[in-house]
């Protein structure tokens, strides 16, 4: 492989990594703060993708521009869901297991609804930039991916600012590190959890908007997404946000090379392989610490 091609693939891989990072960070945040493994995360992404798609097709609203609306809507849904479903179960010993079953049920409900409303036809929004490409020197990058990657970077940076420069962010990080300690210094951990859950869904919403024009989607596609994201999160380290970001970039780049060499069919297999290798060799993942999850 020539150096040019090598760098080209690297570029595409990094762009993809940014997008995967945005998709996975909500999942990681929710688990880290309140030990909820949200198996419906992918389904909410697809739901947002559908919403973005219809907004584009019916009202010509660009998917990138619909992101704020999407995030707001899913944030609200997250808060409501947390109040109704999860807060009543908090504190139970088998909490994580229960949330797995709960979110699984949610995913099924969503998938059925989406299938019923919008059928299983493959959808993809096609705003003008979806077909364009930017080239510089011997390299190119599709406009859609570039914009999506930039959007991810912006949103991830905002998240970083929230987590490290605001009082709320400190409360979130404290809750992630030691829930009891957070309580005894005055953090309302239940309130923090609720808002974080909303935040996690909002990030899924933004990812969905990007997904709508990047990848073709249909209702049952969410399983493939959630499986990849889960594998990625375990690889990076369950409960570690920097780990998730690192895992996203690493696996995306590797998968870009794998796709070039072996075709697109097996690219998701790479994530599953990474998952099993991680569990075999270093169960806490790249940046996970202490107790293996």
């Amino acid at each position: 492989m020539s150096l040019t091609a090598f760098i080209q693939i690297l570029l595409l891989g990094l762009a993809l990594g940014g997008i995967y990072a945005l998709m996975a960070i909500g999942l990681s945040l929710t688990f880290g703060v309140m030990r909820i493994l949200n198996l419906a995360h992918g389904a909410f992404m697809i739901l947002a993708a559908y919403l973005a798609f219809w907004l584009f097709v019916r009202y010509r609203l660009d998917p990138l521009l619909s992101i704020p609306f999407m995030m707001g809507t899913l944030f609200a849904i997250g808060i409501i869901l947390y109040r109704i479903l999860f807060s009543r179960l908090a504190g139970r010993a088998d909490y994580t297991h229960l949330t797995i079953l709960l979110t699984f049920s949610l995913a099924l409900i969503l998938e059925g609804l989406m299938g019923y409303l919008w059928t299983g036809i493959y959808r993809a929004a096609n705003p003008p930039y979806a077909a364009r490409s930017y080239s510089f020197g011997p390299w190119y990058i599709p406009a859609g991916q570039l914009y999506a990657a930039l959007t991810s970077l912006i949103l991830l940076s905002i998240l970083w600012l929230i987590l490290y420069r605001t009082r709320f962010g400190r409360a979130v990080r404290a809750t992630m590190q030691n829930r009891i300690a957070a309580q005894i210094v005055g953090v309302d951990v239940n309130g923090v959890s609720m808002i974080t859950f909303g935040l996690g869904l909002a990030l899924a919403g933004a990812s969905g908007s990007l997904l709508s024009f990047l990848f073709p989607f249909f209702p049952s596609r969410h399983w493939q997404w959630i499986a990849i994201l889960l594998a990625l999160v375990v690889f990076g380290g369950l409960g570690s946000l920097p780990g998730t970001v690192m895992g996203a970039f690493t696996l995306a780049v590797i998968s870009a090379y794998a796709t070039t060499l072996a075709g697109p069919t097996w690219s998701s297999a790479l994530f599953y392989l990474a998952l099993f290798l991680t569990l075999l060799v270093r169960p806490q993942g790249l940046l996970g610490k202490g107790e293996a999850p």
Partner: protein
């Protein structure tokens, strides 16, 4: 004029048996209280109930004439009670400085908070030395200092300490208890749970002996120390002696 009043508290974990069996006691302000008793007597459970980490099955907790039973821990902190758990419960990935900052989470004024953190660092010179060190990397004694320091940021009226000497070398234990003695001068009330009976009662004014969730005996700390029969009854042989 009791600062804290506990009335007939019954408490236990999950579906398990009652750990505290109708316990009642009162704390006056500006004193150091020490609770001693065998393992499983309910000493840590008592502190957890006061702090709102465990909801009692029966009974009430009064603080400054307010019924705080069933409030959340963060609400109780806001009312002036601070807690140092047995495992210190620090934020392992935050530095000493950041841990102390978190102690003042409820303070809205960042500058006042910074000043307060500096004050605490004055009190604990060993912490000042390590202010940028991650809490997870500190030694046992340093962690204990940090945990106490963090609890003091909000200037609580009542400080709950769960076995501060646990796992610490004798010299460090001495340092910790020196700090605790100084706390009294800060118009603080301290409720201390200790396995190290001697050290605990030596710096306390009043002692409570807890066994199987009930109050068996209370009295001036010195008296309990000098009454070897009590110690033997509840601890078998001469426990708690250095």
């Amino acid at each position: 004029m009791a600062l804290l009043r506990i009335e007939a508290i019954r408490a236990g974990y999950g579906h398990g048996p009652d750990i505290l069996n109708g316990l009642s006691l009162e704390l006056e302000p500006n004193r150091i209280y020490c609770v001693i008793g065998p393992n499983g007597a309910g000493k840590s459970t008592l502190l957890r109930v006061i702090m709102g980490l465990l909801r009692p099955r029966a009974g009430r907790v009064w603080f400054n004439k307010e019924d705080i039973t069933g409030l959340r821990p963060d609400q109780i902190v806001a009312r002036g009670i601070s807690y140092v758990p047995q495992d210190r419960s620090l934020f392992p990935d935050m530095t000493v400085w950041e841990n102390l900052l978190m102690g003042g989470y409820l303070m809205r004024d960042p500058r006042a908070l910074s000043r307060r953190v500096e004050e605490i660092l004055e009190l604990f010179p060993v912490l000042r030395k390590h202010r940028s060190r991650r809490a997870g990397l500190l030694s046992g004694g340093e962690q204990q200092m940090l945990a106490i320091g963090r609890a003091l940021i909000l200037r609580p009226a009542l400080l709950l300490l769960d076995e501060p000497s646990l796992g610490l070398a004798p010299l460090v234990v001495e340092q910790v208890f020196e700090i605790i003695r100084q706390l009294k001068a800060m118009s603080l009330t301290v409720l201390l749970v200790e396995q190290n009976v001697r050290k605990g009662l030596e710096c306390a004014d009043w002692g409570y002996v807890l066994d199987q969730g009930c109050l068996r005996f209370e009295g001036p700390a010195k008296a309990i120390l000098e009454e070897p029969r009590l110690v033997v009854t509840y601890f078998g042989q001469r426990r708690g002696h250095p």
